[in-house]
């Protein structure tokens, strides 16, 4: 009789523990999702009213004049991303190829360590580095300098992800290709990289999404510009910079525009991530 009760008590206690664990896990999951929901909600409430056609097509208006937009900043952000990709994609992808296909054990250890350290370097440091390397040398802020700073941030990100997706390609494909008398280089480009192409594109897109919102590295490289940029060796506007300068201004109208800019930026990054999701789903279904 006694033992039976103890058994039931144990059962109750176990169920309580299980319920507690579920609740803790559920609350933590909510805490993960809540910030995203809050940010989106707040951005929509404060920014949606200022997002209109002229926001995408017009230049900023002078202080006191209502209306205007951030067309130059949106275009500038894309130009900067393009420049960053020119630097970051080839170096990052082929660095990843080296790690996965060529490197020696010790060399790879060093390279991975360096890449991981670089991944952790605060982005403003990149701005300072490029300021010293480029801006001072050429005596002026420029789109090139901004693109270079963003590209530097992309390199280690792309390199590590590319390495990982290349290592996912089964060794059997490399062997099959080499056994056909196909050279190592062609095997890597036409067989291994082609098999992992979606993964590599994903790596590039994630890196682009990451640097699209960077402000600090642009502060003393791209600098910002209230007008269209007609020459990449001149300062250029970028969405994050524009948001920054509008948000710290004392004008209500500019605050609204900053909210709108933030909304547009977040939606852009959100869309990139959606594309990545779509690509990786395909990749997992097909290759793995």
């Amino acid at each position: 009789m006694k033992s039976k009760r103890r058994l039931r008590n144990n059962h109750l206690w176990r169920r309580t523990k299980s319920a507690l664990a579920s609740i803790v896990a559920f609350v933590c999951a909510l805490l993960v999702i809540a910030p995203l929901a809050l940010v989106l909600f707040h951005l929509l409430r404060s920014g949606a009213s200022a997002v209109n056609w002229s926001f995408f097509t017009e230049l900023p208006k002078p202080v006191g004049v209502a209306g205007g937009g951030m067309a130059n900043a949106i275009a500038g952000s894309f130009e900067l991303l393009g420049l960053a990709a020119v630097v970051g994609v080839p170096v990052g992808v082929f660095g990843g190829v080296y790690l996965a296909e060529y490197g020696t054990v010790r060399g790879n250890w060093l390279l991975r360590f360096v890449a991981d350290v670089l991944n952790g370097v605060p982005s403003i440091i990149w701005g300072v580095v490029v300021y010293g390397l480029v801006v001072l040398c050429f005596k002026g802020f420029s789109a090139y300098a901004g693109g270079l700073a963003l590209g530097f941030i992309m390199i280690p990100l792309i390199m590590r992800t590319t390495e990982e997706v290349l290592l996912l390609v089964p060794a059997g494909y490399r062997e099959a290709s080499l056994a056909l008398g196909i050279s190592r280089w062609k095997t890597i480009v036409h067989i291994v990289m082609k098999t992992a192409l979606k993964g590599i594109v994903t790596a590039v897109l994630l890196a682009l999404a990451r640097v699209a919102g960077e402000t600090a590295p642009l502060l003393f490289t791209a600098f910002g510009n209230r007008f269209w940029n007609h020459n990449l060796s001149e300062p250029i506007a970028a969405l994050p910079l524009q948001i920054f300068s509008y948000a710290i201004s004392p004008y209500d109208d500019w605050h609204r525009q900053a909210w709108a800019g933030a909304l547009v930026l977040v939606v852009m990054i959100f869309l990139i991530n959606l594309v990545v999701r779509f690509l990786t789903r395909e990749r997992i279904a097909k290759v793995l």
Binding site: R174, S177, L178, G181, I182, R184, K286
Partner: protein, 285 residues
């Protein structure tokens, strides 16, 4: 970029000295008098400090099927891979001795392993059609990546290779479909078609049927038999019935050493070595 149509013609050496055999206990007297495709002389293979193959000397006859049997870990695959230098993909590999292919040392310093592998093709245990390519692209990839552009020639090689691999009738209407959409046995025949499309002189097969069901295995064995009319075939198998069924010659490897080499009939009915007999009759391994 050389076109595959002109890839190294088979080297014919009219005067062939009798191959030197290093170890005396190896029975090779029955091997045909024609010059062997491979003359392996005192070959040892090391992975780091580990010796995978120990002082093996053997002549592998041309245009015949030679089976390599032996218990797991005896060095069968290492030996096979050393015949087209595929084992070099493993870091820290080293060989001693010589492998002559058509009289030429494939490990000579000036020899490019890429060229060797173009002449000596390989089929693997696990079928591995390239997942990004269609059936046709899989067959033709070796030619295309070696610079063959002639469309008529490619089309002809496509059909010819698939016919030789006994796959043409099954896939001729689906050539654009992904290679990985085929069944396991078909995929393995696709890999054979891909290997013979580059017109090698030798096919090395590393347990090509061990992942297949009995019907697909029978098809592959029949195919191997047909291929031996034109190719030297070396097949590694852990299935002794398979070696008995489909090979002309058999080599028995044990702990990295070649215990016995001879005609399959002799090895299976009247082996010289006690160890061979024990293995064949299933007393160990």
């Amino acid at each position: 970029m050389e076109s595959a149509a002109t890839i190294d013609p088979p080297m014919i050496s009219p005067v062939s000295p009798p191959p030197q055999r290093g170890t005396s206990h190896v029975q090779t007297s029955e091997v045909a008098s024609e010059r062997p495709a491979f003359e392996v002389e005192r070959l040892s293979i090391f992975y780091g400090d580990k010796k995978a193959i120990d002082d093996v000397s053997v002549g592998i006859p041309s245009k015949k099927i030679t089976a390599i049997i032996g218990p797991s870990g005896c060095g069968k695959s290492s030996f096979l891979r050393s015949l087209n230098r595929m084992h070099e993909l493993v870091p820290n590999t080293r060989i001693e001795g010589k492998v002559l292919f058509a009289g030429e040392d494939i490990y000579a310093p000036h020899v490019d392993p890429v060229v060797i592998r173009r002449r000596i093709g390989m089929v693997f245990q696990k079928s591995n059609p390239f997942p990004t390519m269609s059936i046709a692209e899989n067959v033709l990839v070796g030619l295309k990546l070696n610079g063959v552009r002639d469309r008529a020639f490619l089309r002809e090689r496509l059909e010819q290779s698939l016919r030789m691999a006994a796959l043409w009738d099954e896939v001729k209407d689906d050539l654009h479909k992904p290679g990985v959409s085929l069944s396991g046995g078909q995929q393995q025949r696709l890999c054979i078609a891909r290997a013979i499309a580059v017109e090698p002189e030798v096919l090395l097969m590393d347990e090509p049927a061990s992942a297949l069901d009995p019907i697909a295995t029978a098809k592959i064995e029949e195919l191997i038999h047909e291929l031996s009319a034109n190719y030297t075939v070396v097949i590694v198998t852990h299935n002794m019935q398979q070696a008995g069924r489909c090979s002309d010659y058999t080599a028995f490897l044990y702990l990295g050493r070649l215990i016995e080499f001879g005609s399959t009939t002799k090895i299976f009915s009247n082996p010289t070595e006690r160890k061979t007999e024990d293995y064949i009759t299933g007393r160990f391994g």
